[in-house]
Point group: C2
Chain length 197, copies 2
């Protein structure tokens, strides 16, 4: 049983390293050599844990999905109002300011890359958005029972993805702050009105 535990530990090491590399370099620029170096697992051994790079990607996304779901569950447990939950989501770019400036959004940049020529892998990566979509829609429904939760959610994602992208292109920290404030003001205006676009 100790052997199995050790295997799991190494697997997690590989996944942790791959997760970061995927964010910092993208899928196609991340090599097995990179993963070996970053995880301190010999290059050849990696193939014992993951047969292909596609498998690594799928495992990383799977790992990210469960982390996200845990995070969202925690937010629901600790944050009372849907308005504050939505603002918590919008606050991510501020919490991750340095990373966002350098590498953009880990979900958006990966989907942008894979969407061009690797549609099978993009499908896997897109699930990250699906998790947030579902949760955000629920929050908007609570905030505005008569509103169009899907359109509101898409609008929110458009603005957060756009700000992450532009912030990373221009390296502008103030851009993030302004846009986050502006989005929060929009959310406030929603919660005060009965209906809105």
């Amino acid at each position: 049983m100790a052997a199995r535990e050790k295997t799991e530990t190494i697997r997690r090491q590989i996944l942790q390293a791959s997760d970061n590399l995927l964010y910092h370099k993208g899928f196609n620029q991340m090599s097995f050599s990179d993963i070996a170096d970053a995880s301190s697992v010999p290059r050849g051994n990696l193939y014992y844990y993951f047969k292909t790079k596609e498998e690594v990607l799928a495992a990383v996304i799977d790992h990210r999905l469960s982390n996200m779901k845990n995070m969202l569950r925690e937010w629901e447990a600790t944050i009372d109002s849907p308005l504050d939950r939505l603002k918590r989501y919008v606050g991510i770019p501020l919490n991750e300011l340095d990373n966002v400036m350098r590498y953009g959004c880990p979900m958006g940049s990966l989907n942008s890359e894979l969407g061009k020529t690797q549609s099978d892998l993009k499908k896997i990566s897109k699930m990250q958005f699906d998790v947030f979509m579902f949760w955000l829609q629920n929050q908007f429904r609570l905030l505005q029972p008569d509103g169009d939760a899907k359109t509101l959610t898409m609008h929110l994602l458009v603005r957060t993805q756009g700000l992450a992208l532009m912030a990373s292109i221009y390296g502008d920290r103030n851009l993030v702050k302004w846009e986050v404030e502006s989005i929060n003001a929009w959310l406030d205006s929603l919660s005060h009105s009965v209906i809105s676009a």
Copy 2:
């Protein structure tokens, strides 16, 4: 002199093919073989025209920049009000709907890719944004002499980049239409007020 003309023609062929490939596959996934196939120029000959792939990129961006500048000059000549000029810019995703759905924004996706690990090449690609930034700021200054043209421009870019990205991820044509309408409504509201954030 005929020889020189032929050279220029082939050069343009290569650039045209590379421009499309850069958009459809991204820089790192675009190979010289791809360019050879798409331009009908033998693989080996490409190196006579461009010594490295970086040189191809720089030439494509250069080509794009002059096209953009021509387009913006034409808009200034044919569209009277700054409001309508800004709306013309916002309308690009609608004109390029099919491409945007499949490949996102050619500027945004390229910068997203190159920003991760190829900062020297990203600098070149970023110039595409600089051209629009400069022009859009001028239009905002005309629209709202007392407004913060830089922040307004960034906000516009955030929203257009965000919509191109999300539209390509979710393949949602209606998303583009809704967001474009929403941006236009925002521009209208700006032109009616004296000052705004």
